[in-house]
Each structure stands twice: as C-alpha cells, then as structure tokens.
Amino acid sequence: MKNKTIRTTIGLIMLLFLSEGCSKNFLDRMPTDKLDGNTLFANPMGVKVYMANLYGQLPIEDFKFYDRGWSYVEWMAPSVLTMAFLTDEAVHSQWDVMLNNGGNSWWDPGYKLIRDVNLLIDIIPTLGLTESEEKSMLGEGAFIRAFTYYGLAKRYGGVPLIRETQVYDGDVEKLKVPRSTEQETWDFVLSECDLAIANLPDTWLGGERRATKWAAYALKSRAALHAASIAKHWARSPLSGPAVDQGLVGIPAGEANRYYEACIDASAAIMESGKFGLFKPNPTNPQEAAENYRVLFEYPNAAGNEPIFIKGFARTGVDGHNYDVWYNPNQTANGWGYPGRLNPSLEFVDLYESYTNPGHSAPIVTTEDGNVNDYNGYRKDRSYLRFENPYDIFKDKDARLWGTVVLPGTEWKGETIIIQGGYVQPDGEAQIEIDNAITVDGTTYYSYGAPDWTQYSGFNPANIQMTRSGFSYKKMLSSQPITPADRQSITDWMEFRYAEILLNYAEAVAESGFAANNAQLTAEQAINALRRRAGHTVDIPLTIESVIRERRVELAFENKRFWDLIRRREFHTLLNNTPRRALVPLLDLRTSPATYIFVRRTVSRTITRTFNPRHYYVSIPGIGANGLVQNPQY
C-alpha cells in the first residue's frame, strides 16, 4: 500500500517534469559540475589537471595492457590477461589465449588523445607562462604526441597526421584526413621526439614523474628501432594490396639504416649522459643477482638510476592493478580464489644461458641421451636424469630465471612452492595429472606432492589455478602477502629503463653493422654489462642472436616480446602450428629414497597456434565513414 503511494507520487512528479521541461533558457544553462575550456585553462592548476589527464591517456603498456588495447581488461578486471600469453613467454592455466583478430582497436582512444593534446599545444602561447614554463610544456606536448603516434603507427602503420586542432564548420569532408605513409608517420614520431628533447628539462624540480628530455630520447630509441626493423625485415612476410602500393604499410628497405642510426644516436645520448646506469651492476654471486633483479621490479622507485620513466599506481581499489591476485602461485593466494594464471613456458625457461656454457641457450636436459626435442611424454624405458631436489635441474641457469620464475620446490613468500605432475610407481608405470596416492615402504606419496589442493601449485587438472607448464611467475609481484580483492596492487611500472636502451643500441648496431664511434665494441659491452649484472663472469661476442636472447630474458614479461615479434616479422614463423611446452616434474619411486625426474611435454589441454601475417597490422575501424584505405587482407 505504502509502495503504491510512493510510485504514484513519483509518477506524478515525472509527469510534472515532462510537461514543464521546455522552458525558454533551458538549452543555454551552464552545468554547475563541469568547467569549460576557457575557465580551465585560465587557472594554472587547471592546466596541471589537464596535463595529468593527458599522461593518464598515454598508451603505456603497463600491468593493465592486453591485446593491443585496454578495453577488454577494463570491463572485466585489470590484468586478467597479459601480452605474455600471446607470445612464447607463457601459457594461461585455464585458457588457450589467442590474438583477437589482429588485436583490440586503439584507434578512437588514440585520436581522442591527439585532439586533447593538440588543444593544449594550441593554447600554450595564450597562457601567459614564463619562458621556461612554456618551453617545458611545449616539450611535454610534443612528447605526448610522439608517444600517441608511436602507439598508432605500430598498430596501424601509416595513419592520418593531425598536426593541429580540427574545427568543424559544418563540412564534414574537411575533417577527413587521408593516411600518411608508414615512413612519414614514423618520421613524424621521430621529429616530435626531437622537439620534445629540445624543450624538456633534465629533471623536474619537484621530482614529479613527468616526461624529461631523457624519456624523450628513450621513446625515440624505441620508435626508431621499430621503424628500422620494419624496413629491414618486411621481406620476411611481405603483404600486398592498395595499402602496400600506396606505402601506407611497409617501409623501403633502403631506409633501415637511417632508422637504426637514429636509434643508435638517441640511445647513445642516454648512455653518454652519465645520468643513468644499471641497478646493482656487480653482484658477488648469482643468488644475489637473482634477488637484485627481482627487487628492481618490485620497487622501481628505489632502483637507483636505472628507471628513465615510471608510471605510478597509487590508489588501491581504484586504479590499482591485479598482477598479484591473478599471477601468484596457488599456495600464496592468501584466500583469493583465482591465482596461478600466468605460467612461464618451457620454451622460455630453455632460453636462458647456463653459467657453464656462456653465449648459448641451455635447454633443460631431462634424459641421459640429452634429446631435448622429444615431447612425447613419459616412457618407462627411457633413462631419465635424477635429482634430489626439484630445482637442482636448473642449477647454473642465469640468475634472471630465478628472479622471474617460481621454479618447482623453491621458496616464495616463505613457502616452498610445490609443483609436481605425478609419480612413477616402483613398477615403472607413471601416474601423471591423475589425483592419486600410493604407499611405498610405509610412506604415502601424492600425485601433486601434497594431500590437499591448498598445499601445492601445479598440474591438478581439476583446479584452474594450478600451473600446467611446470612454472609459476614472480617478476614484478609484491613480496608482501596479497590483499585478496580487486585492484589492490600498486607496484609502479617502469615504462623506460636503462637496460632497454642498452638492448636497443646493441640491436641497432648488430643489425646495421654500424661501426663509427667504436659502436661495435660499445654494443658488445652493453650486452655484457647486462649479463654481468645477472651473475655472468665470461663476456660473449656481439651477434644478433646474442642480442635477441639477451633482450628476451632481460625484458621478459615487460610486454616487449609481442612487439619484437611484430616488428622483426618473426611471429608467423614462431607460431605455425606451434604447440606450447611444459616441464613436468615426477617423483620417481623406483629409487629409495625417491628422486625427481622431469618430462618435457606438450602442455595439457592446449591447441597449437598459428599467426596469420595480416595481423602484423590491425584493421582500421570505420572505413565506411572515414574513407581511409584499409590494411591488407581485412
């Protein structure tokens, strides 16, 4: 009865509104909760707020980034997926993660940011700033515009270059700008970087995390390397069609060395500035090196002069990310229901060098015959190598493996992380990925290394939070107990760090053969400085293979691998009916005491992956309305 009265009342009020809504000045009223442009820019604080918003829109591929866009993770839950799943770095514990037809679009957000930054650049001269303030703000505008066009160019190739704010005067055709060539687009990115370098300060007095001259050099180093790679490696997977004929995708091979040299120059400026260096470059032993490497990502702000540009995460529950809740091993979930999702792959673990054989990847050898290409599973009659502890098989592997990956049987957050796929019975028959137990000589052994699912972290197919590759993940995770809720992680993200600059430099030198200014030697020293920081004591020569291996292990899980495969046109050869691989530790009860053996195998419940070459570019949305030339094969 009461409800009915309320409803009637509301109905009457609404009727009142509806009939009265069209008063004379209604459309001219100013909103009381919003500012217009003039008011905002009239106040220095307003400009600052506007600037912070632009930084927030930058396409920094941080913890929340996935599949060339951000939309998917934002509606679901940040970090539920990450780029590593699309590469050969990792496998998801539950899903076969596939590229979403070329990737999520970043077209609309990109051009929104371009418009927003163009508005700012236009208004700077009218703000009445001091000369130095105006200079640094112009530099920031150029940096943001360069970063945005870099984000667009690596997805779409050549794009329309909107150099000043567009004004709509009733003729929509005037707003349509055709695509520039891919080469022109990259050249624009580099020239905007130059503008930023010329105008930005060395540091910000208040220590704010805003773009500096050095961040602009770093962006230029990265962008030039991308453009150079496309020019040099286009022929590995050429495309055809109108977009190619008009140069909207692809760069002539003759341009490669110009871009490589731009990368070398920008990187050298940072390397010669004396302002940056590696965090703890000379560890006394590999254990120390592994911990140094791990800490670098947990506390980037305390990482000496290695970071060049950091994106901060501050407010838990609001704009925090979810790496810790999704990616901790099952045993350290601290009550959260969905951990253990990020499982580094065996191919990735294989990649690391061993201290005993410098300069070469050291695939995990599991059998006496040393065959590392047999993925056919356990066979009773094979002679497996035996280990007392499950982690002994990784002895002498590069410290960064230990700092990136939770290996079976190692400690993490005070727990021994148990990753075991089954056991071999005394009669030689194996129980693999079957929840079972056996008693031998009065002792009971369990398939997964412990009786209860909360006590182990691997392989049980009934639990989607168990690693199925044999490895769990820890790089960039907090060493503190997690808060089992959404968006609680506030680890900061290093968008540019010194190590990447060294690797960009070394790759550009190795690819181009550039030899002036002693570049060959400097490049060799660069990769060996990274290796020494990782506990290596023997230097290796500069080759493109050693640079790429070093890049993959040093920058692992920093969302670089995906773009490396794109720009170097290696995706379609890497993923061609390619299975994912696991290392399965088994407890072998044929010996007493029991020992660990390992089986190299295809990851359970996965399918093979193939990369379609058209996905080297993303499709351009809305060509029916914007009239742009579409990318090949879309």
């Binding site: 009916n577 193939t610 070459p613």
Partner: protein
C-alpha cells in the same frame, strides 16, 4: 506494454530474393593443364567484387585442396574475379557475367612444380623423394613432408611436419628427400592410415606452398 507494441511493429517478413546463381571453377597449371594443388586453411582465395554499387564489398571464396572452388549461393550480376595470395604468379582480374551456373577457370603459372614424387614406407620410416621445377629465379624458402589423418593435409593442417629450409634456387635435376622417423612421432599410430603430402615454398610476397597430390599410406 508500449515497448512491446513498438518491438512487434518492427518485424516484417524478409521478402528479398534468394541468391540465384552458382560460381565455380578451378585453378589450372597453364602448361600441364592439370589442377593446381592448394591449401584450404590460409590458402589461395578467390576475390570477387560485384559491380554496379558505389562502394562494393570485396568477397572471398576458399579454394579446395584439389584446386577447385564453388559457391552455390551467388547473386547473378557482373563481377570482377581473381585469385589472390596464391602459389602461382599473380594474374589480372577478369570481368565476368554470373548467371545460372557460371564456370571460370584461371590459367596460371605455378611458382614451383613438385614432380616425380614417391612417398613410401620403408622400415620404420616414411620416405619421400621428389624433384622441384621452379618457374622463376627466386629462392625456394623451404620444402616439407606433411602427415595428417585427413586428405586435406598440408603445411597448415598436419600432425607431423618434417621441413628443410633451403633459401636457395633449386636445380630441376636435383632429387630432394625428406623422411619421417615413425618411432619418434607417436602421434602417427601404427595400424592407421594417414595422408602424406610434399610441398615447397617459393620466395615471393604472400606466396603459398606448391604441392604434389597427397598419398594415403597405412602404417
């Protein structure tokens, strides 16, 4: 109530005509007159565009492994048609009238002819030997022997692949040999029949592999 009235009002019967024509044909080696072997997955496609519209959509047909294609649901009209991204030198588009059953065969020059193929089981190996006759000056990127339970076997559809990277021009008299060691590939179960096919990839933009016909072998 008002909402449902509005919703129901918007439904009308679709009274457009059905597609009333058939487009079919084949891709033929102009020299030998034989069908040119293809892949279904990521293989050659037939690109066709219906003329008479301002902004016509480009449509695609998949080519079957034997080199034929067919679409039984096409609207009669004028089209431009051409095969694209194939295993032969690109050819110009053709303008055709599609009406009733319309056949169009494309005479092409394959990048490579895979000849004198022998695939046989010997002991616990499957051994393939063949010659390659390439029709252009570029490198041959790789050769491969592929196995799968389905007859549509090829580089994209295989249980087992044994490939060799060449990256060099080939001599038509040279005999190439590839072998699958059965014990190290337990996915090929003894006692079951499988299809085997050899292919070679020419170094040209967006080139697809050239093949010989698949061979069925019981292991």
């Amino acid at each position: 109530m008002m909402v449902s009235v509005v919703t129901f009002m918007s439904c009308e019967l679709d009274n457009y005509d059905m597609p009333n024509a058939v487009l079919f044909g084949s891709i033929v080696d102009a020299e030998s007159g034989e069908l040119l072997e293809q892949d279904i997955i990521n293989g050659t496609q037939i690109e066709y565009i219906e003329l008479g519209f301002d902004d016509p959509a480009t449509q695609y047909l998949v080519v079957k492994n034997d080199g034929t294609f067919r679409n039984n649901l096409v609207f009669a009209g004028t089209y431009t048609v051409r095969p694209v991204r194939g295993n032969f030198f690109p050819i110009d588009k053709k303008e055709i009238q599609v009406k009733g059953d319309t056949q169009i065969d494309f005479q092409v020059q394959p990048y490579i002819r895979v000849k004198n193929v022998s695939i046989a089981k010997a002991g616990d190996k499957v051994i393939a030997t063949f010659n390659l006759e390439q029709t252009g000056p570029n490198n041959v990127r790789k050769i491969g022997l592929y196995a799968h339970p389905e007859a549509a076997v090829g580089e994209p559809l295989r249980k087992v692949a044994v490939e060799k990277v060449l990256n060099e021009p080939t001599d038509p008299d040279a005999t190439f040999s590839l072998e699958i060691d059965l014990p190290s590939h337990p996915t090929l179960a003894p006692g079951h029949p499988y299809f085997f096919r050899v292919g070679a990839l020419y170094d040209a933009p967006e080139a697809k592999l050239n093949y010989a016909k698949a061979v069925r072998l019981a292991l």
